[in-house]
């Protein structure tokens, strides 16, 4: 009798609760405080940018997969995260069509051309951001002063870190991208993901620790270096992207430290005021090499 047949498969027969979906949606939830901070400081326009960016990311993925005739995977939540992260990396004044364009590039050039989720070497949101920065440099650095605060209009926040009080940097009342101004909001989300085990402490402490150490060596205020610019957003949410970071424990330390070194090098030794995006992308490129060089020692060998 068919209904009496036993199910047969290979062990193990039980699996842990976590799924890709659950991880992706948790990351999306963890980004909500940062989005809320963006809305608080820059007004409802920030929310419009976020929604446009997320909507465009979802739409691009659906259209791309439909055109190629491959299964729709838009419900896995990764496109939402990409859209959110891209929006948080945009200035609040950005025209909405540019946000949408960035999302499309992030999804297609950043992810789908490689074969979709899991196959992309570079963080898709950062690919989108860097594309926009290169294409629309003026728009991408048109910083808006947070509502109700005196700020250094149109100066990049990092270029002026010495002039901004530390508490403003921490809470977020500084000009900058929608999601990178409030270290506090980012830390809430980051802490949640750390506790859930969805981001790796080695990468986070590698990046942040290196920035602190180099700041101290250079005689800079380490807290200002941590809370200014895109460092918190990058260290907590983009360097820790599972797909584009190393899989070995030692490798994740090297990856984090490498990002920290590059950030400080670009900030203080290059012509650009900020370099978190480029640092992460550059280290993304080294991941296969890091993985190969840091294979764990097998038990008994």
């Amino acid at each position: 009798m068919v209904e009496d047949l036993l199910i047969v498969s290979s062990s193990p027969y039980i699996r842990a609760q976590d799924t890709v979906k659950r991880i992706m949606y948790s990351v999306a939830i963890a980004l909500i405080p940062a989005i809320a901070a963006g809305v608080f400081f820059f007004g409802w326009r920030a929310l419009a940018v976020v929604l446009t960016s997320v909507g465009a990311a979802l739409a691009t993925e659906v259209i791309w997969q439909r055109l190629r005739g491959i299964p729709l995977t838009v419900s896995d939540g990764s496109a939402i995260v990409t859209g959110m992260l891209l929006a948080l990396n945009l200035p609040p004044t950005v025209p909405l069509w540019i946000a949408a364009l960035g999302s499309a590039v992030a999804i297609i050039i950043g992810k789908q051309v490689y074969g979709g989720l899991g196959a992309n070497p570079f963080n898709p949101a950062l690919v989108g951001r860097v594309f926009l920065t290169a294409s629309f440099p003026a728009i991408m650095t048109n910083w808006l002063s947070p509502a109700g605060y005196d700020a250094i209009a149109s100066a990049t926040p990092l270029a002026a870190t010495t002039k901004i009080p530390l508490s403003n940097l921490f809470w977020g009342s500084v000009p900058g991208c929608i999601g990178e101004t409030s270290a506090f909001a980012l830390l809430i989300g980051g802490l949640y993901l750390l506790i859930k085990g969805y981001i790796d402490y080695r990468i986070v402490s590698g990046v942040l620790g290196t920035v602190i150490v180099i700041s101290l060596i250079m005689g800079l205020n380490p807290l200002a270096q941590l809370f200014a610019g895109g460092l918190m957003l990058g260290a907590l949410f983009m360097a820790t992207d599972m797909v584009t970071s190393p899989v070995t424990p030692k490798g994740r330390w090297i990856f984090g430290i490498g990002i920290g070194v590059l950030v400080m090098l670009i900030r203080h030794g290059a012509g650009m005021p900020e370099g978190v995006s480029y640092s992460i992308l550059l280290m993304n490129a080294t991941v296969p090499l890091i993985n190969r060089a840091t294979r764990p020692r097998i038990y008994g060998r």
């Binding site: 199910i7 062990s11 039980i14 842990a16 799924t19 899991g118 294979r295 038990y299 008994g300 060998r301």
Partner: protein, 451 residues
Amino acid sequence: MLKSFKGGVHPNYHKELTCSKSFVEVKASDVVIIPLKMHIGAEAKPLVKKGDQVLVGQKIADTDAYIGAAVHSSVSGTVQKIDSTLLPSGLRGPAIFINNDGNYQLDPSIKPHKPLEELTPREIVDIVRDSGIVGLGGATFPTHVKLCVPEGKDVEYLLINAAECEPYLSCDHRTLLERTDDLFYGMKAAAKACGADHIKICIEDNKKDCLEFLTSRCGSDCEVVLLKTKYPQGGEKQLIKAVLNREVPSGTLPYEVGVVVINVGTAVAIAEAIKTGMPLVKRAVTVTGSIVNNPGNFIVPIGTTMDKLLEVVGGTKEKIGRIIYGGPMMGIAIHETDEPVVKGTSGILILSEKESPVIGEPDPCIRCARCVDHCPMHLMPNMLERYVSKGGLDKAKSMGLLDCIECGCCSYVCPSKRHLVQWIKVGKMEIAMQKRRDAENHKRSTPVATA
């Protein structure tokens, strides 16, 4: 701090279903099915034929091969047939079917041996071999081979493996509590046979209730070691690492680091064989699962079919999804309920489909690295899966494919529900087949070469 090892996972243990249930003796089924190969090594050759009368404890099959084990009847009755049947391993193999007459008449050869003090190590090994004793933790490696330490190797420690790290199972726990005398007798015999100076009884801290009273019975040469409750703590290599901080070199056996490990049930079987002369014809089995009406611990004659045990536990509350011989992490899902309990059946776990869903097409790997972080052998299961599934066996081998202990932690933690350990098993099997083919080709080509 509790001793442990690096890697591993913490599944839900569900031990409370049975850990306080004392052993109940179960009568054998009307027909017992006793496979000729219930161990690692050579298949035993039958010593009886259709129509023969057999008695409890009578040797009904044996082998001359060094790595192999004798097989004994668990009932008295008539040999119905010797036929190929579906075995719990999932493969077909020959088995002796015996019509149980229900009298359990003992074979006259079953007599106590000399007391332990008078037995030489060699004699102990011979008794173990003759009694068909194999590793009862589930691996079923012939115990006499383990105890017969090769020339030049010096064994310092005998570890009694009572970690019982598989979820749900509790028969080792009950054995510690209820068969304490035999445990101590058996482990002393095993220590004498392999020449170990120290004995360590290794338990996870979820069996703390055994700690004090086991310790109170330990002499100067014996110690109880409490380990952190973590799967796969009972893996031989993980146990040695946790207890002695030694690593067994890749591709070798624990002798290399001066250790022999035997399961607690195996120690009890050795004691029984010496004290009463009774070979291995029954074993402790946990029959459990949250849908089982009366889960418990049972002493089951080898060859008893699953049907009979389902009766004993009073059936299930819900439709059965899977029946697993062993635990949920490393057990084997059986095809039919008329399959017998064999020497390696440490437990029978009955799961509903909801508890153990069928996993279809997995999601893509998102390189979350959990498999790498949790692998107790420090392998990279994500890479092994990729190489094996894409045909790169040599590459997989160079990355430690053959070091995998198949504990299943990687598949357990994978958020994409990928079939990691399953692919690794496929790879190992392919390598074994390749080896066999090469050996055959070599055999065939050798005469030509010499001619």
